[in-house]
Amino acid sequence: MYKRPAFHIDTSRCTGCKTCMIACMDKHDLPEGVLWRRVTEYVGGEWAARPDGTYTQNIFGYYLSIGCNHCQNPICVRSCPTTAMHKGKDGIVSVDHTKCVGCRYCEWGCPYSAPQYDAKLGKMTKCDFCRDYQQEGTAPACVAACPNRALDYGEYEELAAKYGEVNVIAPLPDPGITQPNLVITLGKNAKPAGSKAGKVSNPEEV
């Protein structure tokens, strides 16, 4: 039982391979268009032509794999008019499908796109921190799958002690909004939240 169930992402190791996404899809049988974990590709920099026909450039890019941060101040829970979205005693933010009416307010509220609408069910769905696996003592599917060991999970305080307390990086929002249980190791290309240096270059994939 967690007080603050958290994910860690090391952006110096995340290569955007999306294995975490497929492992999540396979485990949870996510229907088309429902992505409990998403990998954004954040890219920036400019090309400058020189008179001799060559170019100089300062292109940079990095990937960021985000599921649900099971926030301390979950805006999805605050946005939910039916109390279907709730934070459990184990800290995991879940949807009670007996109460969810599929109004999608939580989806609009969450700046991480964690709540995902299942059109067939007419209800919201989201990352459940692989609660069943955790009960068996195994890691969430995404974490166990990561080929480059860029993902970790556990109690927030422990992850923060191990990796530091950074949770600010572009293109993620100001962590003050929801207090995410997220710990980030910054790679050399990392830009601060709110940076205009780059942009998400795969919006259709996330």
């Binding site: 110096s12 190791r13 290569t15 955007g16 391979c17 999306k18 294995t19 996404m21 497929i22 492992a23 899809m25 396979d26 485990k27 949870h28 049988d29 088309e32 990998v39 890219v43 920036g44 920099g45 400019e46 090309w47 032509a49 020189r50 001799d52 026909g53 060559t54 170019y55 100089t56 450039q57 292109i59 940079f60 890019g61 990095y62 990937y63 069943d132 195994t138 599917a141 166990a144 799958a145 990561c146 080929p147 480059n148 060991r149 790679g187 050399k188 290309n189 270059s201 259709e204 994939e205």
Partner: protein, 808 residues
């Protein structure tokens, strides 16, 4: 065979309505997609029933090899995970599958999965088939094969390149000469051989001239022991994606050491994104960059003259072979004292490569000053019309700086890896000695009897006597998708007066399968037992024992049993099987493997329950060619001089005797040679953009190209720089028309600064979807690639293309 069919299948292979309903129910769908000949719905995710999980593997041609664990319920694979056996120690770490392996459930049950043997009813390539029985299929194929052998001889039979199941031992699909089909044909008098591969044609044929063999290199893990690592066209993060292999090795080496990593590539690859510097380069010009840097190293006295003197020939005039005119040394070529009188200055190189002159100078100085320096190349740089030159040239950076045979050093070749050998299925000896290059089969269909050694690279004879008339194609999509110039290839195949019979054995209705005369459903690797040798990995030696997870789908049959069926009809069953069933062979090969790896358990059943055996490779990693470097006289290379032949007398002779098309050259030195459809081809006035086709996470070549999940998370897109996109009014997501004289592809664009201006990349392997006019809507790059082979290896120059792109 009846034992191997699913329990739902009635005797004789007929599927009853009750059985179909039961299958559909088990697979969780309501309506079967695809219909009579192929297809069902996907299985539903569930944990293993009664905890029944089976260790299996992903056997495709990515260079990695991953352990998978199949969860099985009611005879259906309901979930896939990967290595869960413990990850605490590097060298015994988990072999975690990439996104493709993890999507295996949706590949196993993809809607275009083949169910029954089929025979073509429409024109070849139309994709119209009727269902036939295995008896009829094997009878008719055997009769046609007998007729081909009687009419034309065994030279007219060819086994095409297929790497879809190359990770297997018993059901192995590559090397082509080591497959069950090769064993079958060797029992029947032989078949026309191939040499080279679509992956490595140019480098694999060029390296022996310079080094006496396919050149090895230090492992990626040795980057932990180096100062500077320079990657030429090498992208392990996207081409070796296993968490047991190279991408993880690179991460570990980065973390452990302090090496600066530089990636030279037209594209800001996922490897470049985790490196320290990206140097964009125009495709096909790596040898010019090397020459420009060599000029700096030589003129600033940064070359290792002791190493060059002791271990190489041809660097300077003193070590040229006898009888070679002066001015033919490497140093003379670089300094402009050779025939072309052109000093290969950084400015000269800059104009060709698109890399600023000051960057070429600074990189050369950095390489020259880093002791040791790790230099490697992928196989992208060599897959060009001048790839034989380029691959040799890149190794010159390691030779000039004397990094060969050092810890943390390098040879400039592709990175080395650990290896744990297992037993090999005996394929017997091919009585036919003639061979063509892997890329020449369309020519051999069209004009085989005219093909010669000096003009077409025929080996084992001065010429071919007959064209290819009968072709086997097992677990391969190089009939149309992965071979070049799909439109011309399609025309050649559609002429039934040329190739008389094409037999395809596959799991899916691939673009190649649509050209089959007989289309046979092979078992999927999760439907049979096998021994799976390891993939590329720096520090981990391993072997996977893959147990059958589920029964073969409908009437799918193993390649061994298919070949046995043909052997029966030729009366050579005894020779083919040696009295063994597939299972008996598996046990024999397991016992043979145990002789090589004594710590394996006594029975294959115990090995199956283990799933994988892991062993740590030595740390620090073994340094290849150390003995040669230390004492080249006592430990010579297998070249004629025993040394690194920077100047190759053999190539000199080939360059003066082979008949080459205008513009093609084979030179003794690793020179930069401009090519057709290269940066300086006047054709650029019509087709201004260079087009490459990078390896993409959605697929391994074309394998997994039909998996819905992967298409969604990694869609097929044409990479184009904003500079080029703006000129053409293209915005992200627009559909573009990419074309040249060979064909047209319609594909959405990814407008990204991650590719250099003037260059496009269309990720290779997407499935060819031609419309009535032959214009492709699947994004298949090989509609645009050329059948013209590279000069020395007669290989596939599939990154040498000029195109134009417009908004649709």
């Amino acid at each position: 065979m009846s034992k191997k069919n699913p329990p739902e299948t009635a005797p004789g292979g007929e599927i009853t309505r009750r059985c179909v309903l039961k299958w559909v129910a088990a697979l969780g769908g309501l309506a079967a997609g695809g219909g009579l000949f192929y297809g069902l719905n996907y299985a539903v995710s569930a944990p293993a029933k009664d905890g029944k999980t089976i260790w299996t593997s992903c056997n495709v041609n990515c260079g990695s090899r991953c352990l998978l664990r199949a969860h099985v319920a009611d005879g259906v694979v309901t979930r896939i995970d990967s290595d869960t056996q413990g990850d605490s120690e590097y060298g015994l770490h988990e072999i975690r599958a990439c996104l493709r392996g993890r999507s295996m459930r949706h590949r196993l049950y993809a809607p275009d999965r083949l169910k029954y043997p089929m025979k073509r009813v429409g024109a070849r390539g139309e994709g119209k088939f009727e269902r036939i029985s295995w008896e009829q299929a094997l009878d008719e194929i055997s009769a046609r094969l007998k007729k081909t052998i009687a009419d034309y001889g065994n030279d007219a039979v060819y086994i095409n390149y297929g790497t879809g199941n190359l990770g297997a031992t018993l059901s192995i699909s590559w090397p082509t000469g080591n497959t069950p089909l090769a064993r079958l044909m060797n029992c029947l008098g032989g078949y026309l051989n191939m040499y080279g591969t679509y992956s490595t044609s140019q480098i694999s044929q060029a390296m022996p001239f310079m080094y006496g063999e396919y050149l090895g290199n230090n492992a990626l893990s040795d980057i932990a022991n180096t100062k500077l690592a320079v990657f030429f066209g090498n992208n392990p993060v996207e081409t070796r994606m296993s968490g047991g292999g190279m991408t993880y090795d690179l991460m570990q080496a980065k973390q452990k050491g302090n090496a600066r990593i530089v990636v030279i590539d037209p594209r800001y690859t996922d490897t470049a994104a985790v490196a320290d510097e990206w140097i964009p380069i125009r495709p096909g010009t790596d040898a010019a960059l090397v020459s420009g840097m060599a000029y700096v190293l030589i003129s600033e006295n940064m070359v290792d003259t002791d190493f060059l003197k002791r271990c190489t020939v041809g660097y300077d005039e003193d070590s040229l072979p006898e009888g070679i005119p002066a001015g033919n040394s490497y140093k003379a070529y670089i300094l402009g004292q050779g025939e072309d009188k052109t000093p290969k200055t950084p400015r000269w190189a800059s104009a060709i490569t698109g890399i600023p002159e000051d960057k070429i100078i600074s990189l050369a100085r950095e390489i020259g000053g880093a002791k040791p320096c790790y230099i490697c190349q992928g196989w992208a740089s060599q897959r060009h019309a001048n790839g034989e030159q380029t691959s040799r040239a890149i190794t010159m950076m390691a030779m000039l700086t004397g990094n060969m045979g050092l810890q943390g050093g390098s040879t400039g070749a592709r990175e080395g890896c650990a290896n744990l050998p297992v037993a090999v299925f005996p394929f017997l000896t091919n009585p036919v000695k003639k061979a063509i290059s892997v890329f020449s089969w369309t020519e051999a269909i069209k004009r085989g009897a005219e093909m010669t050694a000096l003009r077409d690279g025929v080996r084992g004879a001065d010429k071919l006597d007959v064209p290819i008339k009968f072709m086997w194609n097992y677990a391969g999509n190089a009939i149309i998708n992965q071979h070049s110039d799909a439109n011309e290839t399609s025309r050649i195949l559609k002429d039934e007066s040329l190739l008389e019979t094409l037999v395809v054995i596959d799991n899916f209705l691939t673009p190649s399968a649509k050209f089959a005369d007989y289309l046979l459903p092979g078992t999927f690797n999760l439907e049979e037992d096998d021994i799976i040798p390891q993939g590329s990995s720096s520090q981990l030696e391993y072997v996977i024992f893959a147990q059958k997870a589920v029964e073969p789908f409908f009437e799918s049959r193993s390649i061994y049993d298919i070949c046995t069926g043909i052997a029966e009809r030729f009366g050579v069953q005894g020779k083919y099987t040696e009295g063994r069933t597939r299972d008996a062979w598996l046990r024999k090969l397991y016992d043979d493997t145990r002789k090589k790896i004594p710590e394996l358990p006594a029975t294959v059943e115990e090995a199956f329950s283990m799933g994988v055996l892991k062993r740590k490779a030595p740390q620090p990693p073994v340094v290849p060619y150390k003995a040669f470097r230390d004492n080249p006289e006592a430990n010579p290379l297998k070249t004629p001089t025993g040394k690194v032949e920077i100047f190759s007398k053999k190539l000199w002779d080939i360059g003066h005797t082979w008949e080459l098309p205008e513009g093609d050259r084979i030179t003794a030195l690793p020179e930069y040679l401009p090519t057709w459809e290269g940066v300086s081809d006047p054709l650029r006035s019509k087709y201004p953009l260079q087009l490459i086709g990078h390896h993409y996470k959605q697929r391994t070549h074309s394998t997994y190209g039909n998996v819905d999940w992967l298409k969604k998370v990694a869609p097929q897109e044409l990479w184009i720089n904003p500079v080029d996109a703006e000129k053409r009014g293209l915005k992200a997501g627009d559909t573009a028309k990419v074309f040249n004289d060979r064909g047209t592809v319609f594909v959405p664009v990814k407008v990204t600064p991650r590719i250099m201006p003037g260059v496009l990349s269309l990720p290779q392997g997407a499935w060819y979807e031609p419309d009535a006019k032959g214009q492709d809507h699947g994004g298949c790059v090989n509609v645009l690639t050329s059948l013209r082979p590279s000069p020395l290896s007669k290989g596939n120059p599939q990154h040498t293309n000029l195109v134009e792109v417009v908004k649709v």
